[in-house]
Amino acid sequence: MSIKIAIKTEGLTKSYGKVQALRGIDLEVDEGTIFGFLGPNGAGKTTTIRCLLDLIRPDSGVVRVLDMDPQANPVDVKARVGYLPGELQLYDNLTTRGLLRYLNALRGNQVDWDYVRELANRLELDLRRPIKNLSKGNKQKVGVIQALMHRPELLLLDEPTAGLDPLIQQEVLHLLAEAKENGATVFFSSHILSEVQMATEKVAIIREGEIVEVADTKELINRSLTRAHVIFKEPVANSALDGVAGVTVLSRDDGLSVMLQVEGEMDELIKSLAALPVSQFETERPSLEEIFLAYYETGAKEGK
């Protein structure tokens, strides 16, 4: 059985006057996955998400959401999607319950209120409170609830955990995992790379309106550089590790310790170390954050 595609864009471009926000975005998100969308402010994350919902119209390119064209079938698409905007704003003159009732009315009153109450309990949100009295974090909880409350097939979340305390962040990630278990696709952008690393199966990195990398999150981390710290029992010659394939010496300390960067497999390095008086050997995988920054540093250098 072929995998269905929840989101597909081809050559998506969008400009604001002379500013080119998207420069040909090609993206495919499989159904039933949690997909992370990474990029700094202004990279084009929000613009991409808003094109998927027909809030803005691309200049060119193809957009398919749940196998539908959002411009041709905006209502059908939105009926199956839950959306959390990055800059969430709510009507201050309503209570939390009143706002959710209004948004439910826009969905044709199809929401199960027991589920809404369950979500509110899990996120520790009092539905009776007026929106104007809510903190930024509590407003974000309202945003998360309204995105999830109709059990959508696709969740488009722009910075879903922004402003939430760590425990509630974890709870939101659990909710997303549960949504995925129930068959939903989750597409979310985030600045918190550790949570993307923890929650997503696949990740896309966007830089200045272009996708620079799409990969399985684990693969992306695995195939990147590894750092190794070796401590020797006695000083070894500076040239001891010269010429080992894929190894670069980052720093040395009187021949007793050395910091290495290893590209690819560790096999060659371990064989070379076997002939040396090794006391300790530690390796360290870079975090997604370091990989992400590497892409930007590379981009910045290329730009210059």
Binding site: Y16, T47, R57, P74, V75, A79, P85, Y91
Partner: protein, 281 residues
Amino acid sequence: MWAEFRYTLGRLRGQIIGWSIGLAAYGLLMVSFFDSIVNIEGFEDILASYPQEMMAFFGDFMAIMTPVGYLDIYYFSYMTVIVGIFAVGVCATLLVGDEEKGILDLVMAHPISRSAIFFGRWSGFVVATMIILGAGWLSWAIPVGGTGLDLSWIELLRPFIPLLVMLVLFGGLALLLSMLLPSARMASMLAGGLMVGNYLLTGLANMNEDLKAVVEYTPLHYFQGGKAVEGINGQWLSGLLLAAVVLLVLAWWRFERRDIRVGGEGGWRLSWQRKLKVNAG
């Protein structure tokens, strides 16, 4: 659309109550003054001593001694501008107000078409205006039997119909401008300015023959005011209604096709303003 209509009315609740009370209070005041004014000894001489320009501005000022003239000059002659503030203010922010606050993004991510949002909110505005004018009408209709105005409820209702159409027309103008200009404030200022300008021009045209040719191309020239008590000019009303519909359709057409803006995504400036910024940068 029903949900948008209902929630628009809800959001306008405070304005509906405030304007209704204000208009009703003013109507009651005017009704109660009629008998006193027409019975003032030598009132016609007082009127005749008014500056000719002022008399001319309101048309046939001496007609103030008749029920229709009183209603026309003391109430309907400037009611378009007064309640027009409500119409222009509400319509300029009907959609763009939420867009500027960043709320429209969330609303439009729900399964409701742009047309349904547009017409749902527009219907809310029209019904809100009808409620306010209804309060104004009741303030004349209820006490009228105890005064010398000698007008029936139906006769009193007639001038409120062209007034409603005028408000819908200027509301439609404000809504269209809000779709075209970078901000709701700019749209309300321009629509309000055009409305007041049209009012002044119509008055001045009564004093200057040369302006009459110009004023014929403006909507307020075809506003009957209190004279509609004697019968509604169907042609004028249809023309105003048609103009209102054209403005509304243009605003809807634009809303259907434009991007919904959020902070940081550009599009909040006019094209010449963007060029200036780019050149400055």
